[in-house]
């Protein structure tokens, strides 16, 4: 998939285009994207980064990094994506002006969106306005309950299965493996310590079953209270894996919440509990099947 940051980088050809922020690429987003992919014209996405609500002054914890969003869009069959840098100036564009600069300029003929799609200054543009401007429109099937904010709520509550149901796949934490405290190795459970972009949402602190790199994993998200930590950590022990992951990006899937973080009376208790967590990770199932 080709990624462009300005309309000028894309040829002017007939396109079927899905427009939206598409944070998390959940089932509702997928319905919109598929509608564009199935329609006539080059399947294209016009998306926004940073998140518009962030630019308008609200803190939004993202469900997925921009890199992951682009990967997921490519998997759905999108050929070209225009990432529009969302600025207060963009937010002030009249809908017709936005359509001229970002849609007409790249040849968009058809726009796929959900019924409630709004864009432009004061969210005053909608599908009817686009039809008035001469675009064809295709309304994607509504997916009940699939909203990024509902998924955020479920993740903040630790409801992994509930989030997976709306995402259509397990929730993920995406990051680069960096050096940690080397503590897991001395306990017999080496972990990959993930540096996760502060803009990304991580689920409620606790211990999770998950998977990465084709291996099941026992995952700790939190501050390592047993060791009196205070900084947010995402650490994964990959089962049946030995190797060096330093510097690699990994996309860690979360499958099931196992328990809260805890403080133990001694290190042996902690080690015994980790062994139970590893068994539970081995027995967990991957949620969010279609």
């Amino acid at each position: 998939m080709k990624v462009a940051h300005t309309p000028a980088e894309l040829e002017r050809v007939p396109r079927a285009t899905a427009i939206g922020t598409f944070d998390g690429v959940h089932l509702g987003h997928r319905a919109v994207v598929r509608t564009a992919v199935e329609a006539r014209g080059r399947p294209t996405v016009v998306t926004f980064h940073p998140h518009p609500r962030e630019v308008l002054g609200n803190r939004v914890a993202l469900l997925a990094s921009l890199e992951r969003r682009l990967e997921l869009l490519a998997e759905l069959g999108i050929e070209e994506t225009l990432v529009v840098e969302f600025t207060p100036q963009i937010a002030e564009l009249a809908p017709g002006e936005f359509a001229r600069q970002y849609l007409e300029a790249i040849g968009v003929e058809l726009i796929a969106a959900g019924e409630s799609f709004r864009f432009g200054r004061g969210r005053s543009g909608d599908l009817a306005l686009l039809r008035g401007l001469g675009f064809e429109t295709a309304v994607a099937e509504h997916v009940e309950g699939a909203s990024s904010s509902e998924i955020r709520r479920r993740l903040e509550a630790g409801d992994i299965e509930g989030a997976a149901e709306l995402l259509g796949r397990p929730p993920e934490v995406d990051g680069i493996v960096v050096a940690g405290d080397q503590r897991g190795g001395t306990l017999g459970f080496p972990t990959a310590n993930l540096r996760v972009d502060q803009a990304l949402l991580v689920p409620r602190f606790g211990i999770y079953a998950g998977a990465a790199h084709g291996h099941r994993a026992a995952v700790s998200i939190g501050v390592n209270p047993h060791y009196g930590g205070s900084e947010r950590r995402v650490e994964a022990h990959l089962l049946d894996f030995s190797g060096d992951l330093y510097g690699q990006r990994i996309v860690l899937e979360l499958w099931q919440r196992l328990r809260d973080e805890a403080v133990f009376t001694n290190e042996q208790e902690l080690v015994d509990q980790i062994a139970r967590d590893v068994s539970a990770a081995r027995a967990a199932g991957r949620p969010g099947r279609p």
Binding site: E38, E75, G77, E79, A283, G285, R286, P287, R289, P290
Partner: protein
């Protein structure tokens, strides 16, 4: 909305790697041809092997390719059953693998006409609701049975805890259900043939003309699409052609 292009019309055989969904391969072909694109049956993301993709006007021939018998090779882990019959499911039970004689006894019962529960996975609906949703609420449901034919079921390698099987089965047979009936789950699953098409013929760059593909099908399979529709597809036919490589579009 106007339909996508009817040309190039033809059949493409691809060997799916483990990981991407079947839909991703359909999308990739569509990207290369710009034509409407369909498939004759999917594989789970973890599975590998043959997919039959249809391009352009040939998508009208999908029914001809749906009921064909299939061949698979699978590695079955005999130490545990899972809720889905594959490596992504919840572990249901853990046990010692069966001995050689016990395994042969179980295999023998799975040859010929069999009736097996559909794996409690994705798409199956029970009483209008997805099986996995019921499972999540803790509702236990008897999964519906499906009758199918197992023409061949042979051990081609064995390591005690794991066994590699070669299967030849009628359309609609769930290999994961066979693994579950053996007391295990599929660690790997590879489709090695669909009807007369072996995976060795897979070539994502080759567009098979519809006439060539239809001629290789049993008559009753070809006749699942009315003669008039087949004739209309054949009218779009062009000689065997190389497709543009991914990214050339």
């Amino acid at each position: 909305m106007p339909p996508r292009a009817r040309r190039p019309a033809g059949i493409v055989l691809v060997d799916k790697p483990s990981g991407p969904s079947s839909f991703a391969l359909v999308a990739e072909l569509r990207r290369r041809t710009g034509a409407r694109t369909g498939h004759a049956g999917t594989l789970d993301p973890f599975a590998t092997g043959l997919l039959v993709l249809l391009s352009g006007g040939a998508t009208k021939l999908v029914p001809c390719f749906l009921g064909l018998d299939k061949r698979y090779v699978t590695d079955v882990d005999l130490r545990a059953t899972t809720s889905t019959g594959d490596p992504e499911g919840r572990m249901l039970s853990e046990h010692e693998p069966p001995g050689e004689h016990e395994l042969e006894r179980r295999l023998a019962r799975l040859r010929g006409e069999v009736e097996l529960p559909i794996p409690a996975a994705s798409a199956v609906k029970i009483g209008g609701e997805r099986a996995y949703r019921l499972a999540r609420r803790g509702t236990t449901v008897a999964m519906p049975l499906r009758r199918s034919q197992v023409y061949a079921l042979d051990v081609i390698a064995s390591s005690g805890s794991s066994v590699r099987l070669a299967l030849h089965v009628s359309s609609g047979t769930y290999v994961r259900a066979i693994a579950a009936a053996l007391g295990g789950h599929c660690r790997t699953l590879r489709r090695t043939a669909i009807g007369p098409f072996p995976v060795e013929e897979a070539d994502p760059g080759l567009l098979l003309p519809p006439s060539e593909a239809l001629a290789r099908l049993p008559a009753e399979a070809a006749e699942r699409v009315p003669a008039g529709v087949r004739a209309a597809v054949l009218a779009l036919e062009e000689p065997r052609a190389r497709l543009p490589a991914a990214g050339d579009a």
